[in-house]
């Protein structure tokens, strides 16, 4: 009996640890969505102007999305990246040998941009505010952090339980992991919805294709791990408490 409960506790901890690692990795990386576009040639002037606009803080949603579409852009939760040729000399055309060297330029979203309202027509300030896209954008950014926080808090409670030499508090840990799993699933679903709506507004060019990245997959995988850890924590705590109560009663009798 004790061996089984201890084993369940250990396995639950392992699963929780794995899911935490995966969640942290997905938040920290920029490969939630990837765009693939062909190589641009004989457009040094256009490249320069686009890059300048991409870097500037005043760029609107339409401006930086156009840049992402044309230059193999990848989008994360909190920053965007584009890949452009290395030589940007305006006075001479790029040679073929030098054209293969690429450079990745990343720009983080400012907090104002994360919480700025989205317009019905990207780029047109007068078209009105799109509340759905606005809240989806905000949730996809916040929920992963909430999930990670809940798991860390659960781990803290588990540590306290070990210090107190009792498995009963681990039932709280289980509940927290359950909530974390739900947040992770919510985050993933919000991100998918947001991307779909964006592409409806700004249609992709013919030569450009987009797909979800491995960061997004890690987030998807960590959700069931959190659910499994939750189940094991709750079972171990509940059953152990029940039998503990029986044993106590027996001794009293």
């Amino acid at each position: 009996m004790d061996n089984r409960f201890a084993t369940a506790f250990v396995i639950a901890c392992v699963l929780s640890l794995i899911s935490t690692i995966y969640m942290a990795a997905s938040i920290g990386t920029d490969f939630w969505y990837e765009y693939r576009s062909p190589v641009q040639e004989n457009s040094s002037d256009l490249n320069k102007s686009i890059w300048d606009e991409f870097i500037s803080d005043e760029a609107d949603e339409k401006t930086y999305n156009d840049a992402l579409f044309r230059y193999n852009g990848t989008v994360g939760l909190w920053r965007r990246c584009i890949t452009i040729p290395k030589n940007m000399h305006w006075y001479s055309p790029p040679e073929r040998t030098e054209s293969f060297d690429v450079v990745t330029k990343c720009v983080s979203f400012t907090l104002t941009e994360q919480f700025m309202e989205k317009f019905v027509d990207p780029g047109n300030h007068n078209s009105g505010i799109d509340l759905l896209r606005t809240y989806l954008w905000r949730c996809q950014f916040l929920l992963p952090f909430v999930s990670l926080g809940l798991m860390c808090f659960g781990a803290l409670i588990g540590l306290c339980a070990c210090i107190c030499r009792s498995l009963y508090p681990t039932i709280a840990t289980g509940i927290l992991h359950l909530l974390a799993g739900l947040c992770t699933l919510g985050s993933v679903s919000c991100y998918v919805a947001g991307i779909e709506l964006l592409h409806q507004k700004l249609e992709l060019p013919d030569n450009v294709s987009g797909e979800f990245g491995w960061s997004f997959c890690l987030a998807c995988v960590s959700a069931p791990l959190q659910f499994m850890a939750s189940a094991l924590f709750i079972w171990a705590a509940h059953t152990n408490r029940k039998e503990y109560t029986l044993m106590k009663a027996y001794r009293v009798a």
Binding site: T7, V10, I11, S166, W214, C217, N240, E243, A253
Partner: protein, 715 residues
């Protein structure tokens, strides 16, 4: 408390299970995150679905193997098994399918471990069908969870092969992008899968063999049932189906606790629970085996009791045999009784003979005097009779050397009769005394048996009415009467010659007696008639008539004798066609033997009886012959008795002297006549008669001529 114990073992005990979980879950999730999206585009969307299902199956079996009760036996409570703990021997043997399996006493759990049960030191419990303690699962593998462990191994092997294969496929598609993140992660997952495949596949193969053989890892490692036959195997197919398809084994741990919870509320229910536990412990401790042994002993006692019941039957069998022996004795007794009856019959003819004496007044007056004198004489003469017998014995010894014919029995008889005559007057006087003694004995018997005579008469009448044989016997007596009439004139002259002298009278009487002997019936009839008519008065004639009536009654007496004789022969001899002649011969013998016995003493009787019996048995043809001599005897007795009535007292004294001599002579003549026809048994009765008459007549003639010289000539 339990948490504390768990934490204490945490550092070393839970490392393998955590490592297993990390590699299993981590590798699989990385495979799903980095490799499956690409494969779903290039190969088919079914790839992630297949891998997902396989992974779920692996997880399910892993969980069951880890968290399921392997089949732990609950420990016995200390209070109840203290005595057993001290008394219990270390091992107890149990027979399974004819094979001795050893059960060991577990000191920790306090019971004898059932077969295939072993104590796990890591879990500190006795597990049913203990296979091994698996550190990767951190649990014992026993009867209840062996199935899930086996399926876990099989599914894990398949899963590893799938992950490795699909990973290799993905890498081949992206050879140009080896530096990419996806490709790198996929290659790392392949390395982990490859490293774990070899040991996992080996372990799976090992367990497949064990399942097929019906063995456990514990038995394989410890070498149990290696040399002999495994009693727990049921064939390959049955073993596999038992592992995979049988219903789950019962769980032993939960029951006592549930019972305890019930007991806690009402305290008085504890005894029931304890009874249940006692029964369980009895089964575990093997006490039931002892009970069965006691039952078997009881059955042995029953068999012993049955054998005891069987013992009485033999005793009655010998008892029955004893009873049969008694029955045989009873049968012998009946034979003796029949022989006694035969003995009783002889005195009856003598009774009839002496009755006419009582009828006459004169004879009755004379008899008491003569009887008293005879009694005194008999007493004094008893000793000399024994002397005479002793003298006869040496004569037997001497004669065989003299005469060749002496070997035959009739010759022995003849010699006996002639010896006393040759001895002289003394011998004759002794003989007369003997005769008187016999007569006295007969008279006494008649007086005592007066009442019985009536019963004899009634029996005689019955025999006359019932049997035809008597009628046939009477007819031959009639025919000799005619012959006697024809031969009437011949005996008259000898009577006339002897009349002048007393001695001459005696000689005449003897001659008269001899003549009727030679001619069986004729002379006897004629002689008494003229004597009676001339000498006797009317009263005497009346007495004679009565005597004749008695003579007529006398023939049925032998009939009485025949009846017991027939019974004896039937009992003694076996049934067959020979019954009739044998019975007839036996009846003749019985008739002769009593008649012969009466005149002589008791010791002489058996001698004559034996040869007569032998003769009768040997020859059947002389049957008509012996009947005539019987009739002759009766006639002679009547004639003798008639004379003393007429004569005076002196004559009366002489008559008893004469009668024994006549009797002796009669016996001798009878033996001769009997002997001769028997020797000529092969001849017919017709030619037999003339040779009988011729030699006897020659002897008689010589005697009549010269008394002493005639005896010498015959010798």
């Amino acid at each position: 408390m339990p948490a504390e114990s768990g934490k204490r073992f945490k550092p070393s005990k839970y490392v393998p299970v955590s490592a297993a979980a990390i590699f299993l879950v981590g590798a699989t999730t990385l495979f799903f995150a980095f490799t499956c999206p690409g494969l779903s585009l290039y190969v088919s969307p079914a790839v992630p679905i297949y891998n997902a299902i396989m992974f779920l199956f692996v997880l399910a079996n892993f969980s069951m193997a880890t968290f399921m009760d392997p089949g732990i036996f609950p420990r016995a409570e200390e209070d109840e098994d203290k005595e057993d703990d001290f008394r219990a021997p270390l091992y107890k043997t149990v027979e399974i399918k004819g094979i001795q399996v050893r059960m060991k006493w577990c000191a920790t759990c306090r019971f004898y471990r059932p077969p295939r049960c072993s104590h796990c030191s890591v879990c500190d419990n006795c597990v049913e069908e203990f296979d091994h303690h698996c550190p990767w699962v951190n649990n014992c593998i026993g009867r209840r969870n062996y199935r899930y462990f086996f399926l876990f191994l099989l599914s894990l092997t398949a899963h590893i092969m799938g992950v490795f294969g699909f990973g290799l496929l993905y890498v081949l598609y992206h050879i140009e992008e080896l530096s990419g993140v996806r490709t790198a992660v996929t290659m790392a997952v392949m390395c982990v899968a490859g490293l774990f495949f070899i040991p996992v596949a080996g372990l799976t193969g090992f367990h497949v063999v064990l399942v097929a053989r019906g063995r456990t890892t514990n038995e394989q490692v410890t070498g149990k049932f290696r040399g002999g036959v495994n009693p727990f195997t049921n064939g390959c197919c049955n073993n596999v189906s038992r592992v995979l398809c049988s219903s789950p084994a019962p769980r032993y741990l939960g029951r006592p606790k549930k019972e305890k919870t019930i007991v806690i509320r009402p305290p008085f229910l504890r005894p029931e629970v304890s009874d249940g536990q006692i029964t369980v412990k009895i089964m575990d401790n093997g006490i039931q085996g002892e009970l069965r042994r006691t039952k078997s002993k009881g059955s042995l006692e029953i068999t012993e009791s049955q054998s005891a019941d069987a013992e009485p039957p033999p005793p009655p069998k010998p008892d029955l045999s004893r009873y049969t022996g008694l029955r045989t004795h009873l049968g012998l007794a009946t034979n003796e009784d029949s022989s006694l009856l035969a003995k009783d019959s002889p005195p009856t003819p003598t009774m009839y003979k002496y009755r006419p004496g009582y009828s006459s007044s004169s004879t009755s007056a004379a008899m008491p005097h003569s009887s008293s004198a005879k009694l005194s004489r008999g007493d004094s003469l008893k000793e000399p009779t024994s002397i005479a017998e002793s003298s006869r014995h040496p004569s037997y010894r001497s004669e065989p050397s003299l005469e060749p014919e002496s070997f035959r029995s009739p010759t022995f008889g003849k010699s006996f009769h002639f010896d006393p005559l040759s001895s002289g007057s003394r011998s004759s006087s002794l003989k007369s005394a003997q005769g008187t003694g016999f007569e006295l004995g007969q008279l006494q018997s008649i007086r005592s048996e007066g009442t019985t005579s009536t019963s004899y008469k009634s029996l005689a009448n019955q025999t006359r009415n019932g049997s035809l044989s008597y009628d046939s016997l009477l007819t031959p007596s009639d025919s000799p009467d005619f012959e006697s009439v024809q031969a009437g004139p011949e005996p008259d002259p000898p009577l006339g010659y002897t009349s002048p002298f007393l001695s001459a009278r005696l000689a005449q009487q003897r001659e008269a007696e001899r003549h009727p002997r030679l001619v069986p019936t004729g002379p006897t009839h004629r002689e008494p008639s003229p004597v009676r008519y001339d000498n006797l008065s009317r009263h005497i004639v009346a007495s004679l008539q009565e005597r004749e009536k008695l003579l007529r009654q006398s023939p049925p007496l032998p009939g009485r004798e025949e009846e017991p004789g027939l019974g004896d022969s039937g009992i003694q001899s076996t049934p067959g066609s020979g019954h009739a002649p044998r019975t007839s011969s036996s009846s003749d013998d019985s008739k002769r033997s009593p008649l012969g016995k009466t005149p002589l003493g008791r010791p002489a009787v058996p001698r004559f009886g034996k040869p007569d019996g032998l003769r009768g048995r040997g020859v059947g043809s002389p049957e008509p012959g012996p009947t005539a001599p019987y009739l002759g005897r009766s006639m002679s007795y009547s004639s003798q008795k008639a004379q003393p009535g007429v004569s005076e007292t002196e004559e009366v004294a002489l008559q008893p002297l004469l009668t024994p001599k006549d009797e002796v002579q009669l016996k001798t003549t009878y033996s001769k006549s009997n002997g001769q026809p028997k020797s000529l048994g092969s001849a017919s009765p017709g030619p037999g008669q003339p040779p009988l008459s011729s030699p006897t007549r020659g002897g008689v003639k010589k005697v009549s001529g010269v008394g002493g010289t005639t005896y010498e000539i015959s010798v």
